[in-house]
């Protein structure tokens, strides 16, 4: 239809636009989440982020025991944009963390978990029995720590066992976070879905490195790290599009979102929500409400009442 006419007509029938979204069973007031590993360490900060516009915070990936992570340098700013990090999953361990967030009633918290064997995940989920948890996110995709993350995600049998044990341990929705590893991520997604996963987060950082030409050394203490931020957005977007074209599963897009247009691209590709990590380092926490507002303006312009009105639209063309 003639679009000028259309927009004139539709302005007569304006709907109320709202940022609420649902990722399967998970209901969020806003579709912009904090990605795992970003500032996700203290309940006070979670509260601040919630006031700053996040729909949910995803915690740092927690392990059964506290981890110190790698020595510095753990993060590197890439000349062409983005970051390479090898924080090494430093975290206080699931038991300590559970105690810290027990008082929480207000903030929607997604607990990110890493482990090597299925029982790790069972043990950790049990720690949170007394906490109000929105969902668990299984980190099957950290590209720079041995024996967890991608090394787990690349092993279909292990993925099956982990998802199964997690689903059997709790009724809270379980999300699998996938990334580009040594086996095809779409196989990991299929396995996770077959094992009962509730949603998919795509993607984690991509294995990368940086070398200093003067001192001729890899800069990160771990040599390899994960690339995040604007450089990976076109790759993350195609993953979301590929998953949503192949499966009927709620998806959370992650990777390089730094403006509302990026978020909308992910929705159009099939994501019901998005996560933001690196953009916090560039634009600080104002980035959440800037993006919320941009999405809302867009929805008003296109006359959408909720996020789901636009989920997957780019697949129609």
């Amino acid at each position: 239809m003639n679009q000028l006419l259309y927009s004139k007509l539709s302005s007569l029938f304006k709907v109320e636009s709202s940022l609420t979204t649902s990722i399967g069973q998970i209901q969020l007031d806003r579709p912009v989440m904090l990605a795992s590993g970003i500032l996700g360490i203290s309940l006070d900060v979670f509260n601040r982020l919630y006031r700053s516009g996040v729909g949910a915070v995803v915690t740092k990936s927690l392990s059964t025991e506290p981890w110190e992570g790698y020595p510095n340098p753990t993060i590197f700013s890439v000349k062409g944009g983005g970051w390479i990090n090898a924080v090494g999953l430093s975290n206080p361990g699931a038991p300590n963390f559970a105690k810290m967030i027990e008082p929480n009633q207000e903030v929607p918290i997604v607990i990110s978990l890493v482990g090597s064997i299925p029982e790790d995940f069972e043990m950790m989920i049990k720690q949170f029995e007394n906490c109000k948890i929105t969902a668990y996110e299984l980190n099957l995709s950290c590209p720079h720590v041995a024996k967890v993350g991608l090394e787990v995600g690349d092993d279909p049998e292990l993925v099956r066992k982990i998802v199964t044990i997690a689903k059997n341990t709790t009724d809270v929705p379980i999300i699998a976070k996938v990334g580009l590893g040594t086996t095809h991520y779409l196989n990991t997604v299929s396995t996770a879905i077959d094992s009962g996963i509730d949603a998919i987060t795509a993607i984690n950082t991509i294995r990368a490195m940086a070398i200093d030409v003067e001192t001729q050394r890899p800069i990160l203490s771990n040599k390899f790290g994960g690339l995040s931020g604007t450089p990976i957005k076109p790759i993350a977007l195609r993953c979301v599009y590929e998953i949503s074209s192949k499966h009927d599963i709620p998806i959370i897009g992650c990777g390089g979102v730094s403006a509302w247009e990026d978020a909308v691209e992910f929705f159009l590709a099939g994501a019901s929500a998005i996560q933001i990590g690196s953009a916090v380092g560039d634009n600080w926490i104002d980035v959440f409400n800037e993006i919320n507002n941009g999405i809302l303006q867009y929805m008003k312009r296109k006359n959408y009442s909720s996020i789901k009105d636009m989920v997957g639209l780019a697949k129609k063309s």
Binding site: L39, G69, V280
Partner: protein, 270 residues
């Protein structure tokens, strides 16, 4: 092209100055770092060893800056051992800076916490009446006393050293001196950097008397840019919201003065 402050720049150490047996100042050329504001810091990469947050020390020569480091764990010892001619990487400057008032000023520094205080001194107006308190464990560990006196040559000023063991200057904790001074007279601005307990007590002494007080906090830092979360104090991120905070703000922070987070992010008591 303007330098992106997040990109690592390699600089060569041109001079190493021994301040005390455990403290050294390393001088290098860098226009950006020579012009940072007091309270700002750099992330300093010692290739093959570690990366540390460091306040940026002034240098007398234009276009130069320095780090003044106390050797402690492996990381700071690695920096301490850097020789003239060796290369290190720097990024930054990061963080906000002190809000320098005019009039009667009190600067309280302990150990390498003196670094931002010295840079702050380089901004005082000739009419300001400046008192500098330097706290140290013992005579051996006193440094920057002469430097502070020289910098304040043309100001009404006092530089007072106190050592815990009384081996030099006044005996006792520097915070007892602070309490005494703020009790005797009003200061238009009180500035502190050093061990947290020193900053905490300074803040309490001044804030309870409604004086304007600021402290520059230290926390474990990995990214320096507000991504990793390791530097949080309550709901504040020291690298991004600080390092300088007002007494007003700090007095309502439940962690400041009491808790810090270790490398795993677990809250521990001071």
């Amino acid at each position: 092209m303007q330098r992106n402050h997040n990109h690592t720049t390699i600089v060569t150490i041109e001079k190493v100055i021994d301040e005390t047996p455990t403290v050294r100042t390393l001088v290098f050329s860098d226009n950006v770092m020579s012009n940072v504001l007091p309270g700002q810091f750099a992330m300093v990469w010692i290739p093959g060893i570690n990366e540390l947050p460091m306040s940026v020390m002034i240098s007398k020569e234009p276009g130069k800056a320095a780090f003044t480091v106390r050797k402690h764990g492996p990381a700071s010892t690695g920096l301490f051992n850097v020789k003239e001619g060796q290369q290190i990487g720097i990024r930054g400057p990061y963080g906000n800076s002190f809000d320098l008032k005019e009039g009667k000023l009190l600067l309280v520094g302990g150990g390498t916490g003196l670094v931002p205080m010295i840079r702050l001194l380089s901004f005082v107006k000739p009419a300001d009446d400046v008192t500098v308190l330097i706290g140290a464990k013992s005579k051996d560990e006193v440094f920057f006393e002469d430097l502070a006196n020289n910098m304040l040559e043309n100001n009404p000023h006092k530089v007072i050293v106190s050592t815990d063991d009384g081996s030099y200057g006044e005996k006792g904790f520097v915070t007892d001196l602070v309490e005494k001074l703020v009790n005797e007279s009003h200061f238009d601005g009180v500035y502190a950097c050093g061990p947290e307990i020193m900053m905490y007590k300074t803040m309490q002494s001044a804030h309870s008397r409604n004086m304007f007080v600021q402290a520059s906090l230290e926390r474990m830092m990995k990214c320096g840019v507000g991504i990793c979360g390791s530097c949080c104090v309550g709901e504040d991120l020291v690298c991004r919201d600080g390092t300088v905070f007002d007494g007003d703000h700090l007095s309502s922070n439940k962690e400041f003065g009491h808790f810090y987070r270790n490398k795993a992010g677990i809250l521990e008591k001071y």
